[in-house]
Subunit: 443 residues, 2 copies
């Protein structure tokens, strides 16, 4: 190609997050923390391909989702980039059914793709951090109750106190709409209720009348969602509505069980609540549903959502595979919280110490570096230590906390001068003292 | 869609690695080990998008590479999936030049895509694990010498002893071919030399004659590559060839420096060697080049390769950015070594202990689980502990090492029965003893 230099746009594509080093280090720290929690709860890692046959990804998709999918043809095969981690999980479990142990607890943390029109806070490539527990034919309701304790540990470990895991059960909603003989328009009703805070009661009432609901039914809807404002006894209030619909009754019973076990799981009462307005999309979930909100940033919306489904992989297998899972959209969450300064970057390097050899002989510096590295202390050796100002400038710009000077004197005494670059203090230490000092982390 | 159940092929695409849990756990263990080494050497993480503008990825590509790239159009934009991690790095450094600190040491570990015709041992989606050190205008040769010590630590930590990092310098080759006035056919000569072991000296001689080389020049080529078989004094032998080409002389000098510093870096003499036949593709690299072979599995070829380049991002920026880097093709390496049984899977779960509540009250089990999890011990609670055989069967199938039984007795005494599921031994222990016991890992 002839000199394309002038023409090439070197920016990353719009809607594709790309981070500078300090941000990337922070992102990875959060990613690793989520991964750690998933692992201590006994979830197994799974990494499926980003590309799948289009027919696999589109088996269930439709409408908006289908339009957003990155699809193309290579040779004779129609390919698509995954738009979530659940459809590949369904395909995986169907394919490897005989080789898996159920309940199958898996976590997956990877990139997914949605070619949406780019808008503020939306991404076309983003990380999802998912867990799911998949049962074979049945799955105990206690798995539904364990999920909030995982959400709780994650957000607590990420430094939050003020968040609420909101819980509902789709059977209650389905049963309630059946009871109103309004199943056909349940979607529109839920969307209208969602606008309550924004447009007020009168406007919501007007829209519901437009949906051909009688004022009597609308009043029942208001009574139902008003239960939400109560913090206690929602379950008995739900029972007191005296709705005889079987689904409704089952849903209330399941919700009661889940709420009771969540308490046993040690999630503080201030961090979870029943929220009867949560539906999480109307096709997929069939039982418990979750959303999680940060009370100080309600405008972000839910930061961790999920729920129970009756049958994960009905498009790919005849085995009935009920499951429960959650997803954290980490790219968006990271974007929102760093913008607000809630998550703040620190250093542009994870290097803990820069070794400056003050002699031409590199061997003492290299020996020390090797020992520090074996002790998991990220270490660099400066190859410009003769230009000491430049070497320390490099450390300063990256936020490296310590420097070690190794000159004739230090070599003779088998000691090292450790300088704290943030405070300017320096000490003459032996190897063990150096390791001890460098192992004290601020996080 | 109407009942597509019968038609959907549920297998992952051919050429796309997908692992069962035990394999995935092993893969992640190796991935994490490589990442750890990169981090202790002070490399900064970088994660660029998998999709880029086609013009960015194709600025330098051509021929075979271009045919393999997954490309498609979405809206008005030509998109392509990255086929390596170096081109996106070049684009990134050009774009963020003013915000980076040089030398910029970055690691990247992610999936890349090549739509090759699938064949045994080749993948269309695979992980590359890369490091590069990028200088601004200049980059000290000692960075070239540091790279083998990183390769050494990685393969040592992965359990290998018997491997050789082969080192050459492209200037020596370029200078040598200049001296022979054979630069135009250097590519074909190198490819012919590569066949030496396979087809023998006579056949190689014949092919070289076909390339219109004189027997005198061919003899010089044989003299040159014969130096390879010597283990000592290759540098002085190269000097003794008395080749006056400037590039050749510079190359020998650089190689000498690199080899000397590698020794200082503590890489054992048995783990590195000069290999004058290594070229690593003829366009990209301009100085030091590396390959790494496992002596016991020579047929795998190089497991970690790389080198020095003069200018990373000439297609995107006028800044001169010399660099040196390596790449490990982890997907292929994993495939090759697990097939041979060199890397063996162990368990299908990383869960360390399964808690079996023997009472209906879950609280003591949950409290214990929370304490173990805070101590980073992956823990599950069985919700089928009433079916004790089934619960232990689950642990057994996953390879979980320990079970803890919590019954009335244990609750009363505030002790726990810890059972080693591999040996059958069981002990009554308190919390601290449990944590201590479970923290002893086999790896």
């Amino acid at each position: 190609m002839n000199n394309p230099k002038e023409e090439i746009i070197t920016s990353a594509l719009s809607g594709f997050m790309e981070l500078l080093p300090a941000q990337q280090i922070l992102f990875n720290k959060i990613f690793d923390e989520i991964r750690k929690v998933y692992e201590v709860f006994g979830f197994i890692p799974l990494d499926t391909p980003i590309l799948e046959r289009s027919e696999v990804l589109l088996a269930k998709a439709g409408g908006e989702t289908e339009k957003q999918i990155y699809q193309f043809k290579k040779g004779d095969t129609n390919l698509a980039m995954r738009f979530d981690l659940t459809v590949p999980l369904a395909r995986y479990v169907a394919e490897h059914y005989g080789q898996l142990v159920f309940p199958f607890r898996r976590y997956a943390m990877g990139k997914v793709y949605r070619g949406e029109r780019p808008q503020a806070g939306r991404f076309r490539e983003f990380y999802q951090c998912d867990i799911d527990v998949i049962g074979n034919e049945t799955l105990d309701i206690r798995f539904d109750a364990e999920i909030p304790s995982i959400i709780y540990m994650i957000f607590k470990n990420l430094g939050f106190k003020n968040f609420i895991i909101r819980i509902n059960n789709r059977k209650i909603l389905n049963g309630f709409f059946s009871y109103l003989d309004a199943n056909q328009i349940s979607n529109q009703i839920m969307q209208t209720i969602d606008k309550l805070e924004k447009v007020g009661l009168d406007e919501v009432n007007r829209i519901l009348l437009d949906l051909n609901l009688s004022q009597d039914k609308i009043n029942k809807i208001f009574d139902f969602i008003n239960l939400n404002n109560k913090t206690k006894n929602i379950i008995s209030d739900l029972n007191n509505l005296n709705i005889k619909d079987v689904q409704f009754i089952t849903g209330v019973k399941e919700l009661e069980q889940v709420i009771n076990i969540i308490k046993e799981f040690g999630v503080p009462e201030s961090n979870f609540a029943i929220d009867l307005t949560i539906a999480r999309g109307l096709d997929y979930y069939t039982g418990t549903v979750y959303e999680t909100r940060l009370n100080d940033y309600p405008e972000i919306g839910s930061v961790c959502s999920g729920g129970r489904y009756d049958d994960l992989a009905s498009h790919y297998t005849k085995h009935k595979l009920p499951g429960v899972g959650i997803s954290i959209g980490l790219t968006r969450l990271f974007d929102q919280l760093t913008k607000r300064g809630v998550w703040q970057t620190e250093n542009s390097s994870t290097t803990r110490v820069l070794i400056l050899p003050m002699t031409t002989d590199l061997v003492p510096s290299i020996k020390l570096a090797n020992k520090l590295r074996i002790n998991n202390i990220p270490t660099e050796i400066s190859f410009i230590a003769d230009k000491i100002k430049k070497a320390l400038g490099y450390a300063d710009k990256l936020g490296i906390s310590y420097a070690i000077f190794i000159g004739e004197d230090e070599i003779a005494k088998n000691l090292y001068t450790l300088k704290n670059l943030k405070t300017g203090e320096q000490e003459l230490l032996d190897l063990e003292q150096i390791i001890e000092q460098l192992n004290i982390r601020s996080f």
